[in-house]
């Protein structure tokens, strides 16, 4: 009787240990989660801070054509314009800004050159202006367009550092035929 009880106990214990092992395996964070960024979410009109960046979003809209400082941006796609104020907290840095739609990631366009944000920032001197993204028109269709995410960070592949994300519904944004970009400029806090 005693040997039978011992055997049952061993089987039960083995089952429990296996269940614990499976549970641990299933709940184990992926490499992406282990090394991913610490995300702060931004909303229009609210200042958010990461480790090194600050960001206040003002507006976002679509445009078939954008103009700035004598430059005219023609595209076969469409422009997404996100206006706001971005700043550096710790030192000179160049923000790395991208837009994720589904599996695709679009870097902020440097076609407007100095007419758009994206250049180097000096600590304590935020700059206001616009980031622009050149997108194919197909990017505005489908469910992924409802939850596009703009990311503001100090590197393209952020690992164990902060990032500021802002979710945008591209299907709900105002669509203009032509938009003049606001000239970038430093904002005295």
């Amino acid at each position: 009787m005693s040997r039978r009880r011992t055997g049952l106990t061993a089987i039960l214990l083995t089952g429990v240990l296996l269940a614990v092992a499976f549970t641990l395996r299933l709940t184990q964070p992926s490499d992406e989660e282990l090394q991913g960024p610490f995300v702060t979410f931004a909303r229009f009109g609210e200042q958010v801070e990461g480790r090194n960046l600050t960001w206040i979003a003002e507006d976002a809209y679509l445009a078939d054509r954008v103009t700035a400082l004598g430059w005219s941006g023609e595209t076969d796609g469409v422009w997404l314009v996100v206006t706001g104020t971005i700043g550096s907290k710790l030192g000179v840095t160049s923000p790395d800004v991208s837009l994720r739609i589904g599996d695709r990631r679009y870097m902020a366009s440097d076609r407007p050159d100095a007419a758009a944000l994206g250049g180097s920032l000096r600590a304590g001197l935020p700059q206001s202006g616009a980031f622009v993204f050149e997108l194919p028109r197909s990017a505005l269709e489908g469910p992924d367009a409802r939850s596009a995410t703009a990311r503001f960070a100090t590197g393209f592949r952020v690992r164990l550092d902060s990032a500021i994300d802002m979710v945008l519904d591209l299907t709900a944004l105002e669509h203009r035929s032509t938009a003049a970009l606001p000239p970038p400029g430093e904002v005295i806090p």
Binding site: D31, E32, Q35, W71, S72, G73, E74, T75, D76, G77, S98, D103, R104, R105, Y106, M107, S109, D110, R111, E134, L135, P136, S138, A139, R157, R159
Partner: protein
Amino acid sequence: MARLTLGHRLARIHPFVWIGAAAALAGLVAWPLGGWDTVELESTKIPEVAVGELVEGHQFSLRIQSAELTDVHPNGFSEDAAGWTWLVLGLEVTNETDLTEFSSRLGGSYDGAVSIDAGVAGLGTTAVDADGRELRGEPYLVSDGTYLPDLQPDLPTSLLLVFQVPETTWSAGDELQIGIIDRTPYESTLGTGIRYGFPAPVAIVKIRVAQGATPAPTAEPAP
């Protein structure tokens, strides 16, 4: 002593002899059927596509649209060296990857997608420019002349690729063979994202070289 039957005699033949005989018979049968002919593998042939036809790739899809020789650089200020001229390819490129790509990759020999010597560049070209550096096509955006424009995913983009070539290589009306090179995804890591490798020529485009702009004659100074 019992006489061996035919069956016994055949059974005493070594199996290797049977195998050799079968192979020889197969070789003889294959002869009239063309089994010994030297053939070119279909997989090694690079298909030729027409000017303006889309070549779909894993990394970039391309459509070659024009080729012209010009002494006037599209950027308006680069001067050609004596004995050299500019070969300008007009093309439409679509970035098929999930990330914004650099157009600087298109015309290089190491990571390029377009070559002007029939698919050799990209797999180790020896062509050089006037400074003796490896020949690279410089990309310019057609719509506003941006140098090294980004290529956004899934957005067809019209570019000019400018190569510095010796004046004697091509003349207007000559046929130019353009090689299109594609790469396949082979690795994806958190640090690098999807990486593309194994370059292979996937298409050849034959195009007549047109004569582009020539510099305006400088006015003779008044006496």
